[in-house]
């Protein structure tokens, strides 16, 4: 191993033997008792159906990815870090069992293993539901805590792991020097920022979804198999679905046009077939069925559904009651447009 002549900085990571020896029995097992109590409390909170989401997150995370693993790792390593192990060869230095950081890492990953095994076992033996999962994880945690307690107590008190007592010793005598105070303020700022931002998520994107639908053989509304051959003057039912995700109530104005289109793609004539308004609250989906009856014949007729959000249109492109519109008068831009190519024949 490398010599520690530059940058050890970690001498205080290992508690002194003298300090360990002075710990009370409760101090040596407080972490395990606390783990068991917190796990039981967390299970209760998680099984209670009315628990607010933030509280579920706060107790659910350690319940799933910390407590079970911590209990198991404590059972595997009842001794304090830094205990001397048999050295081999030139390894004359004391070789530590996992330090607290190593145990923390092991606890997290082991929790993942425990939870995965619990769910796999439940899939075979029962069902993967909330109650069995929570109860099983709690049971594994409590059993492991019991084993850890027994194994820890079987050791000489000075050799027993005692993380809480170690932590208390480490913070003992720490004053409120300016860097520490600044660090605390910064930590509070970070926690507060995360809480505020997490508690007030952004509004989200504003948009409207429009879909042209027709009824299929089963009576379902689908975006496929549209009628393509229309008889002039005869109506075909088409449904317009509008879903409002604008985070406000919106009234939509819809104008249905039949456009004759030449081979080069230019509109040679168009006629307004219908116009109507639809009002939808945020999150609401409205279905509007209309009989569309084009009168202009041709094999290249384009049905256009122009959708304007109220207040965004500045009026429709045609005068009130004017059914026939010159293409060049079609100057304003709808918020959304749907189109369907059809063939219109004479009766």
């Amino acid at each position: 191993m490398y010599s520690r002549d530059r940058g050890t900085g970690g001498g205080h990571m290992i508690p002194s033997r003298r300090a360990s020896a002075s710990r009370s029995d409760l101090g040596r097992t407080a972490d395990l008792v606390l783990t068991a109590l917190l796990a039981v409390g967390a299970a209760g909170v998680l099984l209670y159906s009315g628990t607010p989401r933030p509280l579920t997150w706060i107790v659910g995370v350690p319940f799933l990815i910390a407590f079970p693993g911590y209990a198991v790792v404590s059972a595997v390593f009842p001794d304090r870090p830094g205990a001397e192990r048999a050295a081999r060869g030139a390894r004359t230095e004391p070789v530590p069992t996992p330090g607290w950081v190593g145990r923390l890492a092991l606890s997290l990953a082991t929790s993942g293993v425990v939870v995965a095994l619990v769910v796999v076992a439940l899939s075979r033996a029962a069902a993967i539901r909330l109650v069995p999962v929570v109860v099983a994880v709690l049971a594994v945690t409590l059993v492991a805590v019991a084993v850890a307690l027994a194994r820890r107590r079987s050791l000489d008190p000075a050799s027993q792991a005692a993380p809480i007592a170690t932590l208390a010793e480490r913070f003992e005598g720490s004053g409120t020097e300016r860097p520490t105070a600044a660090l605390l303020v910064a930590a509070l700022l970070l926690v507060g920022t995360v809480a505020v931002v997490g508690g007030a998520p952004p509004q989200g994107q504003q948009f409207t979804e429009s879909t042209l639908l027709t009824e299929d053989a089963n009576g379902d509304l689908v975006a496929d198999g549209y009628p393509t051959e229309f008889v002039a003057g005869e109506g075909h039912p088409l449904t317009l679905a509008i879903e409002n995700n604008e985070h406000r109530s919106v009234t939509y104005e819809v104008v249905v046009l039949a456009q004759e289109v030449s081979a080069d793609g230019s509109v040679t004539a168009q006629r307004r077939l219908d116009d109507f308004e639809v009002t939808a609250a945020h999150g609401e989906r409205r279905l509007v069925e209309r009989d569309v009856a084009p009168t202009t014949t041709g094999d290249s007729v384009r049905l256009r559904f122009r959708i304007y959000k109220r207040g965004a249109t500045g009026g429709t492109e045609d005068g009130e009651g004017a059914d026939s519109i010159a293409p060049e008068e079609n100057s304003d831009v709808p918020d959304q447009t749907l189109q369907l190519w059809i063939e219109v024949v004479d009766e």
Binding site: L104, A109, N245
Partner: protein, 657 residues
């Protein structure tokens, strides 16, 4: 010389490390010549980084017998206030992301600055000012905040595969109440990720939160394993450096954003790496048990991760066996330690074989035979020197370079700079470990596993062998790299001149995090170089479009096809349930009569279509007019302003298309 160094005698004749370093310099110069044959930037990055590493080692070796240089440090006052600055910076990061809604250049700059502040403390704190707990806490908090602020600010999920794993598999397990939801997939024999995600879903109420708050949280926290393993090899300062290097590595960030079984594989791999290190250092049989637990957990989590763990275990087993063989069993290692390493390797190997024999795959044969067949076919048929298909972005045509701007050629070097720093430092560390008093079995376990992964990631790719998904290996490879790199930096701190130390450490502290956090894989949600890489995240309207289209244009159990750009077609496929492909285009548009989904991002972002030219290629969608594929002659039956569904018209000028 002690007994344990008997093995080293076989290799470390005096000056062998120097000879290797000199050879390395020559080899790198020769490797640079390959750049003339292909445009791969890695053929510059790797030789240059390796060469510089060798030269640094040689330079420091010449001073080995000299006086130890005065170590450069920052003023104590600065060191004391930097932790608070880091936390304030993280708070600013959260606020900025909340305001902008997506990661932008200022956020990337701030993230890089936070990384520099942390690495700066680890590298430049005076010995008596270094607070390991405080620095480690900053690394972990920063790792969590950087990932989770993005995860929860991004609608849906980030990445491709996650859209199958979470909404389909994890949610399916919860809905069915059993693992039957993944019975048809290869994950029925590797269900740990989905099982944990299902437990999270039940507890937190949604598959997204359930997966993020369990597996997603374990990923950044698993950097603690790097610290724990490194602290068994080097002093605490350098363990902190290793942890910071790993936490800010682009590929490690990647699996914290794209939370899939590979992510959990990384967690268990790091656990196995730590357990192997602890076992070889402490001879504690309990570490052997942990090694077995994490190795087997990987087998039951992810197949590619399993292959990587087997490489690690194989390297470990090979090292201890060779060590014992060459030293006549007198290298000081207890038999139980050797047995634990070799036994874990064999048990994991057998478990893997049995598991893969029962793992379903797309064809009728089990996963094991299919993967062996594919691998054999690749090696015998497809492989060829410098067959770099899929390995670079240079293949893009259709005005890509023009669209990307004059700095396009410079960007890959920025993105790979962090890797170059890591590689260079690891080269120094590897050479230093050969000579150091780190135990021989541990040294060769690290070096052999890192070298094997390096060859698989970059060497195999050079020959077109990509069946084993080398891109997935990089995050795993970075773990031993980070630890060995920390050894290298420690070595320089002991043996290099003050000027060299200062120059190298400043480059590491400033250049590494800044370039790693803007690299392609660390920015899947919102690429820092958004002219070069498409985003693998979607807006709310893009996600809503897939849901709405799937509701009214039924995917018919994956038989219905809808085309779009890459990567949006993957969302249509995995979340919508369609058979999605990148649309094929010609100069006049698309001949396909299949439905096509247009999105506004196709006109501005570097998404791609398939080019039907011979040979087939990709074309950047933004180089084509918006109505090139979603033409006016087609029916437009769905829109939400950003996304439009264009279907074939049976009347009009475009009838049939």
């Amino acid at each position: 010389m002690s007994q344990q160094n008997a093995f080293r005698q076989w290799f470390v004749v005096d000056g062998l490390d120097v000879a290797i370093a000199r050879l390395g310099v020559v080899a790198c110069l020769l490797l640079l010549g390959l750049r003339l044959l292909t445009s791969q930037v890695l053929l510059v990055i790797i030789p240059v980084a390796t060469g510089i590493g060798c030269l640094l080692y040689l330079a420091s070796h010449r001073r080995r017998q000299g006086v130890v240089s005065e170590y450069p440090t920052l003023p104590p006052r600065t060191i004391r206030y930097l932790p608070a600055g880091v936390l304030v910076g993280l708070a600013g990061l959260v606020v900025l992301l909340r305001v902008t809604g997506t990661r932008t250049l200022p956020i990337y700059l701030l993230t890089g600055a936070i990384g520099s502040a942390i690495l700066g403390q680890a590298l430049f704190a005076p010995d008596d000012e270094l607070a390991p707990g405080v620095v480690l806490a900053q690394v972990i908090v920063a790792a969590v905040v950087i990932r989770f602020s993005v995860l929860f600010a991004t609608p849906g999920f980030i990445g491709v595969d996650v859209w199958t794993h979470v909404p389909d598999f994890v949610a399916g397990i919860v809905e069915a109440g059993s693992l039957s939801a993944i019975a048809e997939s290869k994950y029925i024999m590797a269900p740990f990720y989905h099982a944990i995600g299902a437990a999270g879903t039940l507890v937190f109420g949604s598959a997204r939160a359930g997966t993020y708050l369990t597996v997603g949280l374990l990923v950044p926290l698993s950097a603690l394993f790097v610290y724990s393993a490194a602290s068994l090899v080097v002093p605490v300062r350098w363990a902190l450096v290793a942890t910071a290097l790993y936490a800010f590595a682009d590929q490690f960030i990647r699996w914290g954003l794209h939370v899939i079984p590979t992510s959990l594989g990384v967690v268990f791999f790091l656990g196995a790496l730590y357990a192997l290190t602890a076992l070889l250092v402490t001879d504690d049989v309990r570490a052997g048990v942990l090694l077995a637990v994490f190795s087997l957990a990987t087998v039951f989590t992810h197949q590619v991760s399993t292959a990587i763990v087997l490489v690690l275990l194989g390297a470990g087993a090979g090292s201890v066996l060779v060590a014992r063989l060459l030293s006549g069993g007198t290298n000081g290692m207890p038999t139980r330690t050797a047995a634990a390493v070799v036994g874990t390797f064999l048990v994991t190997l057998v478990t893997t074989i049995v598991s893969w024999l029962y793992t379903p795959w797309y064809a009728e044969d089990p996963f094991l035979w299919e993967i062996l067949n594919t691998l054999t076919g690749t090696v015998l048929v497809d492989a060829g020197f410098l067959n770099l298909a899929g390995g670079g972005s240079a293949a893009q045509v259709g005005g890509a370079a023009e669209a990307a701007g004059p700095l396009a050629g410079f960007i890959p070097y920025v993105e790979w700079f962090g890797f170059a720093v890591l590689l260079g430092a690891a080269i120094v560390g590897g050479l230093a470990m050969v000579r150091s008093d780190v135990s021989a079995d541990l040294t060769f376990s690290y070096l052999a596993s890192a070298a094997a992964m390096f060859v698989i990631v970059f060497g195999f790719s050079l020959f077109g062998v990509r069946t084993i998904m080398p891109g997935r290996w990089v995050a795993f490879m970075y773990a031993p790299f980070a630890i060995v790199a920390a050894v290298g930096l420690y070595h320089l701190s002991q043996h290099a001149s003050r000027r060299v130390i200062l120059a190298v450490f400043v480059v590491v502290a400033l250049g590494y995090p800044a370039t790693m956090v803007v690299a392609e894989k660390a920015t899947l949600d919102s690429p820092a170089f958004d002219d070069e890489h498409p985003r693998f995240s979607y807006t709310e309207s893009e996600i809503a479009a897939v849901e709405s289209i799937a509701a009214v244009y039924p995917p018919d159990a994956g038989e219905t096809r809808i085309d779009s750009d890459h990567p949006y077609h993957t969302l249509l496929e995995r979340y919508g349930g369609y058979r999605g492909d990148p649309v094929a285009v010609t100069e006049s548009g698309s001949d396909s009569s299949e439905p096509f989904v247009f999105r506004e991002y196709q006109t501005s972002g570097p998404t791609t279509f398939e080019d039907t030219a011979d040979p087939p290629n990709t074309v950047q969608s933004r180089t084509l007019a918006a109505d090139h594929v979603c033409r006016a002659e087609r029916n437009h039956v769905y829109t939400n302003g950003d996304v439009r569904l264009c279907t074939a018209a049976t009347a009009g000028p475009g009838a049939g298309t």
